[in-house]
């Protein structure tokens, strides 16, 4: 085990996989000479050379094509979006090509590409930059989606993503890059997809989230512990595949659930989780599921408005109180 930042854990995952497998390479804007906009790819150009760490023009469609096509031809590319917002420029390649080529070809061609980069809200980046669209990708069959909440998972999930034969949407959270934590040194350490982590056990209510929001759930759980409320906190780690067993097992036990995410609330991951929970646990539920999500407004710039627009532990606490009422 070593203590390192989330961003370093990602770098370690890529370094190890690039050492292990010559087919793995990285491409994206400023990933090389500039050392990465968020330093995630720092030092990799020097280590692996320009063949395997490819600085690109500001051409998200081209970048996605580079990754998708090279994956179809047998490489294992990692394409970095400077932020996931810019993937909006590449939706056709992602959705109509990367996600579907395996199916359209009857499995004759695969697309083992990882698309990664920072997502999430915050930092007054305002409407065009501050958003993450995991709900979109989860609506599209063909993608797997990982959203790590800890440095350990950042490493373990990214390694699994690189080794997976499907296109993986890998969403990091800019607000987590500096977070420190223990990370296994073992180069064979991976975190399997579809296996949620119980971050805290509890008996009164199940809090289900992923990525940055897991921290808010844990904080909420701590606050409510003082009031004698025992919260179980589930970190989904991957949205697709989804660990429905972990969810149902917990709710069978707590009979109450709060589902929380940072993103827009309507037609979202929490919508799916809530309706799924009803379908799977209708008789176990003692109260309606509470959804925590962002308000249906673009992200405003002003600090006070932004604060009001990003769900935090207070919103989770409110939701818990509601399901317990």
């Amino acid at each position: 085990m070593s203590v390192m930042r989330y961003a370093e854990a990602l770098r370690l995952a890529m370094t190890e996989e690039m050492e292990r497998d010559d087919r793995v390479f990285i491409c994206g804007e400023e990933v090389g000479q500039y050392q990465g906009t968020f330093r995630v790819t720092e030092g990799l150009l020097e280590r692996f050379g320009a063949r395997r760490v490819v600085d690109t023009p500001i051409s998200e469609t081209g970048i996605s094509g580079l990754a998708t096509g090279s994956a179809m031809a047998g490489l294992r590319p990692i394409a970095e979006f400077m932020t996931w917002s810019f993937a909006l420029e590449a939706m056709d390649v992602l959705v109509n090509h990367a996600a579907k080529i395996t199916y359209m070809s009857g499995g004759r061609v695969k697309c083992p590409a990882v698309f990664r980069g920072p997502a999430g809200t915050g930092n007054q980046l305002s409407a065009q930059h501050s958003q993450s669209l995991e709900a979109w990708y989860a609506h599209i069959p063909g993608f797997k989606i990982a959203m790590p909440a800890t440095p350990e998972d950042a490493k373990g999930l990214l390694k699994t993503a690189i080794r997976d034969d499907s296109p993986v949407i890998f969403m990091e959270h800019a607000g987590l890059y500096a977070q420190r934590g223990e990370v296994p040194d073992d180069p064979e350490f991976t975190v399997p997809f579809g296996l949620a982590a119980i971050r805290r056990t509890g008996s009164d209510v199940t809090l289900i989230s992923y990525s940055h929001m897991v921290g808010s759930c844990l904080k909420a759980a701590e606050v409510l512990e003082k009031e004698g409320v025992s919260c179980e906190v589930i970190d989904l780690r991957t949205i697709v595949p989804l660990d429905t067993e972990a969810i149902t097992a917990s709710i069978r036990h707590t009979h109450r659930a709060v589902v929380a995410q940072e993103e827009w609330k309507s037609v979202s991951i929490v919508s799916e989780l809530a309706s799924l929970i009803y379908e799977l646990c209708f008789d176990d539920l003692d109260a309606p599921v509470e959804r925590v999500g962002g308000p249906m407004t673009p992200m405003p710039y002003a600090k006070n408005l932004e604060r009001a627009a990003i769900p935090n532990e207070k919103n989770v606490i409110e939701a818990i109180r509601k399901v317990l009422a």
Binding site: T56, T61, G65, H97, Y103, G106
Partner: protein, 334 residues
């Protein structure tokens, strides 16, 4: 003979056997395409259906000279490309009919033929779609240090897609061995080239990215065959993109729905007739005849053998089962 110099030159490059096999390939494509409309009208083929009639030389002039480890990508107008790659006509027809024996096991259909074993990485339903993909395929070649090439076909209309521009730029920047073949058949559905761009010399567009570019007569399979030979062998040595604008024509409507009545909205019958006078199959046939390499009975023989292939493809496809219903859930992930 109108261009004796070139002819001589080509004669050296293209043997009788090869010329005959190009003739046969183009004829196979034509007869195959003709049969698809019949099958469509019988309700055995569904979805969209785009024929390649008139453009046969664009695939015949290039694909047969490629190696099995080269890559080919193209648009939804892809039956000809599959056949030129050597995909079994039976598996192409079975795919068009949505059968389990189709080259994509019935999941792709007309626009999504694919056959990686023969280097064919697929048709693509999205205008401009294959171009970013070709960039990546080409990068894989370069990455592995191979001397293969990736040939990417796309249409004149596709040049107006932003992703095409990004990919052309990146292919030149990295020196990626993609041979871009612009199938300039003058129309994108009903839109004539001049109605989609103010400056319709595509060579200038390609050169703006620093890509070497030239134009070829898309009706003359031997010209294409001989001129691309050196281009391709150069690309194998130098790893860089190349761009060819093919001066071609689409004899039929865009797809099934674009019938002769509909075509009156955007082109004249006399224009079509003029181009048909330069039918690439007839052009090559006449050359072969003049050289004494093809007489009427040999022609008849080829015609017969092609007809048999097409009939066999149809009967194979019709005898083939639909995919099992479980297949619906298969191949969602890699």
């Amino acid at each position: 003979m109108t261009k004796p110099a070139v002819e001589t030159n080509q004669k050296e490059l293209v043997s009788k056997e090869e010329m005959l096999s190009l003739y046969r390939l183009m004829l196979l494509i034509r007869r195959f395409e003709e049969s698809t409309y019949r099958k469509y009208r019988e309700g055995k083929i569904g979805g969209y259906l785009h024929r390649y009639d008139g453009q046969e030389a664009l695939v015949a002039g290039i694909i047969p000279q490629l190696r099995k480890d080269d890559y080919i990508l193209c648009t939804y107008r892809d039956h000809a490309h599959a056949l030129a790659c050597g995909t079994d006509p039976r598996h192409v027809m079975a795919e068009l009919m949505g059968r389990a024996t189709g080259c994509a096991y019935g999941k792709g259909g007309s626009m999504h033929l694919i056959d990686p074993d023969n280097g064919f990485y697929g048709g693509d339903g999205i205008v401009g779609g294959p171009v970013p993909i070709a960039l990546g395929v080409g990068y894989a070649i370069k990455y592995r240090g191979g001397d293969q090439v990736c040939v990417c076909y796309f249409g004149d209309g596709a040049f107006n897609q932003g992703g095409v521009h990004e990919s052309l730029n990146m292919s030149a920047l990295y020196g990626i061995p993609v041979l871009f073949i612009l199938e300039n058949n003058k129309y994108a559905m009903g839109t004539r080239v001049e109605r989609s761009t103010h400056q319709s010399d595509f060579l200038l567009k390609a050169r703006a990215y620093g890509i070497e570019a030239e134009r070829m007569d898309g009706m003359d399979v031997l010209e294409i065959r001989s001129r691309t030979q050196s281009i391709i062998s150069n690309m194998r040595r130098e790893s860089k993109p190349y761009f060819i604008e093919m001066n071609a024509y689409r004899f039929l409507g865009h797809g099934v729905a674009d019938n002769p009545q509909q075509q009156k909205f955007y082109r004249s019958e006399s224009e079509i007739e003029e181009w048909k006078n330069r039918d690439p199959i007839h052009l090559l046939g006449r050359k072969l005849e003049k050289m004494g390499w093809l007489d009427d009975s040999e022609k008849e023989q080829i015609e017969e053998s092609v007809k048999l292939d097409v009939e066999e493809a149809i009967s194979y496809a019709e005898r083939s089962p639909e995919p099992a219903i479980e297949a619906l859930y298969e191949h969602v992930y890699g």
